[in-house]
């Protein structure tokens, strides 16, 4: 009888709870708290937080082979299915009009990948391997699906840390970027007004995804899965004849895969995998990456002003980090704070969406060169 009682007790999760599990619960609740009360990336942080909570319930084995979280992880992430589908939805939501109207903003999106490489070097200096450093560096692109796509391919053991770092810092754009922008620009620069963007024809908008897809995929084939789906989604949108597909890509499909993505990422964050010095370093490197990406965009915008007659407000360079549309909104808010009649949102959307393309290119190069 007593043996049965003890066997019964041993079969309970309570008996196997560890301090690590409790810490991970605290992290899970913190993520969910931030999502609910502060509105930080709730669509991702709620499923990730819940995934973290349930994967740290002892004996449930939700990440064991053929169990529910492992199935989401295996087919969704290991098969590299979910990030491209998210990109399909993002493409259907994205208006490339501001980029087409002012194509030099594409270069600002490129400059804002600076932090990716700075964090890459920092990570190597801290003893990470090249594939790990690539996965950490790409956090600086401020693009969740691209970070996940790269990490799964190069350093899957870091997936939880890189994904949560990417989404956390994306949510913290309004906190991280303003002090950097203020430090790097003068009041006079922040007051620069930009003339209204020229109108863009429907045909140009339609041809842009085809050119971008062809060009990027030919130069960096490793980025094809993300870029092709991104541009397909945008082509749905701009063709104007498949509204149902466009609507599905940006609503139902996107929502479904977001659930699977969040819970699968959360599922990788078990205490033994996540509570390591490496994970903490990933978070620190993520902040480095993000900050230097902001600086890179700002510096190029300032440099452009040296050579260009038509001045641009250098703050829009900061929007080159891909966190769409938060980074552009931050620039708009800061511009309006200096001059309430200065409308920078559409100008900032140019580098913002260019940053997404830049990050995908950077990821493709990491996948090509960093995986050896």
């Amino acid at each position: 009888m007593i043996d049965t009682f003890f066997t019964f007790i041993h079969s309970m999760g309570f008996y196997h709870l560890t301090v690590g599990n409790l810490i991970m619960w605290a992290i899970a609740f913190a993520l969910m708290y931030l999502a609910i009360t502060k509105g930080y990336e709730p669509l991702l942080l709620i499923p990730i937080g819940f995934g973290v909570f349930i994967v740290n319930l002892p004996l449930t084995n939700l990440m064991a082979d053929h169990n529910i979280l492992h199935i989401f992880y295996h087919y969704g992430l290991e098969w590299e299915l979910i990030p491209p589908i998210i990109f399909l939805g993002l493409g259907a939501m994205t208006d490339f009009g501001p980029v087409i109207a002012n194509p030099k903003t594409l270069l600002l999106g490129a400059a804002a990948q600076f932090g990716v490489y700075i964090a890459f070097f920092f990570a190597l200096g801290l003893g990470f391997t090249i594939p790990e450093a690539c996965s950490i560096g790409i956090i600086g692109g401020a693009d969740g699906p691209t970070t996940i796509f790269t990490t799964v391919a190069l350093a899957p053991h870091l997936l939880g840390a890189t994904a949560v770092a990417a989404y956390s810092y994306m949510a913290l754009v309004p906190v991280i970027q303003p002090p950097i922008i203020k430090m790097m620009t003068t009041k006079k620069e922040r007051l620069i007004r930009m003339k209204q963007l020229r109108p863009v024809s429907k045909r140009q908008k339609m041809i842009f995804p085809l050119i971008t897809c062809g060009l990027v995929c030919l130069f960096v084939p490793a980025s094809a899965a993300l870029m092709a789906m991104f541009m397909l989604g945008n082509f749905f949108r701009e063709s104007g004849v498949v509204e149902r597909l466009s609507g599905t890509a940006q609503n139902e499909l996107m929502n479904i895969v977001t659930i699977f993505l969040g819970i699968a990422v959360g599922g990788t964050m078990s205490a033994d995998a996540f509570l390591t010095p490496k994970a903490l370093m990933v978070f620190a490197m993520g902040l480095v990456a993000f900050s230097f990406s902001t600086i890179g965009g700002l510096l190029l915008a300032k440099l452009m002003n040296v050579f260009s007659k038509e001045k641009i407000n250098p703050m829009i360079g900061a929007a080159g980090v891909s966190a769409v549309p938060m980074a552009a909104r931050v620039v708009q808010k800061m511009g309006a704070a200096e001059d309430p009649r200065n409308f920078l949102l559409m100008h900032a959307m140019g580098p913002n969406v260019a940053g997404v393309i830049g990050t995908v290119v950077a990821a493709g190069i990491f996948l090509t060169m960093g995986g050896q």
Partner: protein, 47 residues
């Protein structure tokens, strides 16, 4: 150890310059497309 840094420098040089090159090429294609549409296009519908 030296190999890692040499490899990393290669990734940085090729990587960052490729990002600029590709986005620069894209930027140029946008300009070329615009010029072609303005020259040969028939009254493009504005959106």
């Amino acid at each position: 150890m030296m190999d890692i840094w040499a490899e990393a420098t290669k990734i940085f040089v090729f990587g960052f310059s490729s990002v600029f090159f590709i986005l620069g090429a894209l930027s140029l294609s946008v300009v070329i497309t615009r010029v072609l549409f303005e020259k040969f296009g028939k009254n493009p519908k504005k959106s």
